[in-house]
């Protein structure tokens, strides 16, 4: 067994982990770094619960052997939570009753984070496309889409104020 040291920048913090061959990124995050906000749902990429942002792109952390993302920058739900508060997307999910069992929320948040970073003014269709691979079995898609729309608007507003 050729275990390897993998270096990652996780939520801004440099991390070194020793991984056995084929250890997935979700396992590194959850089992080694104890960042358990990222969820394991299907292990085959179809549920979206494990979505994280790697080097600016939303990806499935269950499909990534850690060795292949050595030196990558990883953002998880823990990384978008400001100290002592909630980020705009998180706030919108709470206020819009877009949580039920909660298991899909982290993945939805990371996909939405990547979406808004690239497209600050997404249409409902854009949002639907973006989260089309994230399953919410409590079927609360509409509140989730509304929350992402509301958060994007809020973030645009904040940016405008900052710019002025």
């Amino acid at each position: 067994m050729a275990s390897r040291i993998v270096t990652l920048l996780v939520n801004g913090t440099p991390q070194e982990v020793i991984v056995r061959p084929g250890t997935t990124l979700v396992s590194v995050l959850r089992d080694q770094l104890e960042l358990t906000g990222t969820k394991r749902g299907c292990a085959d990429g179809s549920c979206g619960a494990c979505s994280v942002v790697v080097d600016g792109k939303a990806v499935r952390s269950c499909l990534i052997p850690a060795e292949t993302v050595d030196e990558a920058e990883v953002t998880t739900v823990e990384g978008i939570t400001p100290v002592g508060g909630l980020g705009p997307l998180q706030e919108a999910l709470v206020e819009g009753f877009a949580t039920q069992c909660g298991f899909c929320n982290s993945g939805m948040l990371m996909v939405a984070t990547a979406l808004i970073a690239e497209n600050p003014d997404p249409s409902d269709a854009d949002i639907m496309r973006a989260i089309s691979g994230n399953v919410c079995r409590c079927t609360g898609y509409h509140p989730i889409i509304r929350a992402i729309r509301d958060a994007a608007a809020k973030m645009r507003g904040a940016q405008q104020i900052a710019a002025e």
Binding site: A43, G45, G48, K57, R60, L63, P65, T68, G133
Partner: protein
């Protein structure tokens, strides 16, 4: 169980590892292989990741397109020069999966997945392959049928970009997004003097692999590209197809709708 995951930065090193290991597999985007690794005893001991091989990238020279094997579907979809084929990419999976999945990997997706492979088949794409004996080229039709040898690596794909008027693509799914094909139709049909001069029509969801429908193609040549002649030509699909049953549709249903979707793809509803 895996005892080695290599991320070589040199193609020859990758080929050597592949040739030298007991049970190795190539890992590109991981969206097809990792589900297997995660949940089944695959017998694989070694993965060779193509991540650092510098095989990603798109170049266009005239109408000739060359796409590196590890180019992600996302990068493919964003390339303005390939805008005509963007609907193909956008019909596949969801954005996070497209951020990972590679163009070459799509050639090895089991049906009813592999919509890009269907499009590449209609485009008569050529596949560049590296192996212990050097490089070779093969038509995509051969690769979707036979795959490549265990010690070979697909390095690139090349094809001629069709012009807008001759390209047709339609994928029918049970949902608007992120679903496998019930039927996927990709076609390049050239019309001259009011009649079809050449037609290459590929289907997904119509058999164990992406396939061409030569009987339909032949029946269309020399006819006008209208509902009547397309309907007549599409009726000949059965000679070339082996529709199957899966969670998305039954073989019976696919058989019923294949000619309908050929017609819709080529001449609209």
């Amino acid at each position: 169980m895996l005892d080695r995951v290599d991320v070589p930065s040199d193609l020859n090193a990758a080929l050597e590892t592949l040739a030298g290991c007991r049970a190795g597999a190539i890992l590109s985007g991981g969206t097809l292989l990792m589900p297997e690794i995660n949940t089944r005893a695959t017998g694989l001991t070694t993965l060779v990741s193509l991540k650092k091989l510098d095989l990603a990238g798109i170049s266009v020279s005239g109408t000739r397109v060359t796409i590196g094997a590890t180019t992600t579907l996302d990068a493919f979809g964003r390339d303005e020069r390939l805008a005509l084929l963007k609907p193909v990419v956008e019909s596949i999976a969801s954005p996070p999966v497209r951020n990972m999945a590679s163009v070459a990997g799509n050639l090895f997706a089991a049906q009813p997945y592999g919509d890009l492979a269907v499009a590449l088949l209609a485009l008569d794409a050529e596949v560049e392959i590296a192996g212990p004996k050097g490089k070779r080229q093969a038509p995509v039709s051969e690769i979707v049928k036979k795959g490549v040898a265990a010690d070979e690596i697909v390095t690139a794909l090349t094809f001629d970009l069709p012009d807008g008027g001759s390209w047709f693509y339609a994928k029918t799914m049970r949902r608007n997004t992120n679903s496998a094909a019930i039927v996927c139709v990709a076609a390049r049909v050239q019309v001259e003097g009011g009649v079809v001069k050449s037609a290459s029509i590929a289907l997904g969801g119509a058999g164990p692999r992406p396939l061409r429908v030569p009987s339909v193609e032949a029946a269309l040549v020399g006819k006008p590209l209208d509902a009547e002649s397309v309907t007549a030509a599409a009726a000949k699909f059965e000679a070339d197809c082996e529709p199957f049953t899966d969670a998305y549709a039954s073989a019976w249903y696919r058989t019923r709708v294949i000619p309908v979707h050929i017609r819709r793809a080529l001449v609209g509803a």
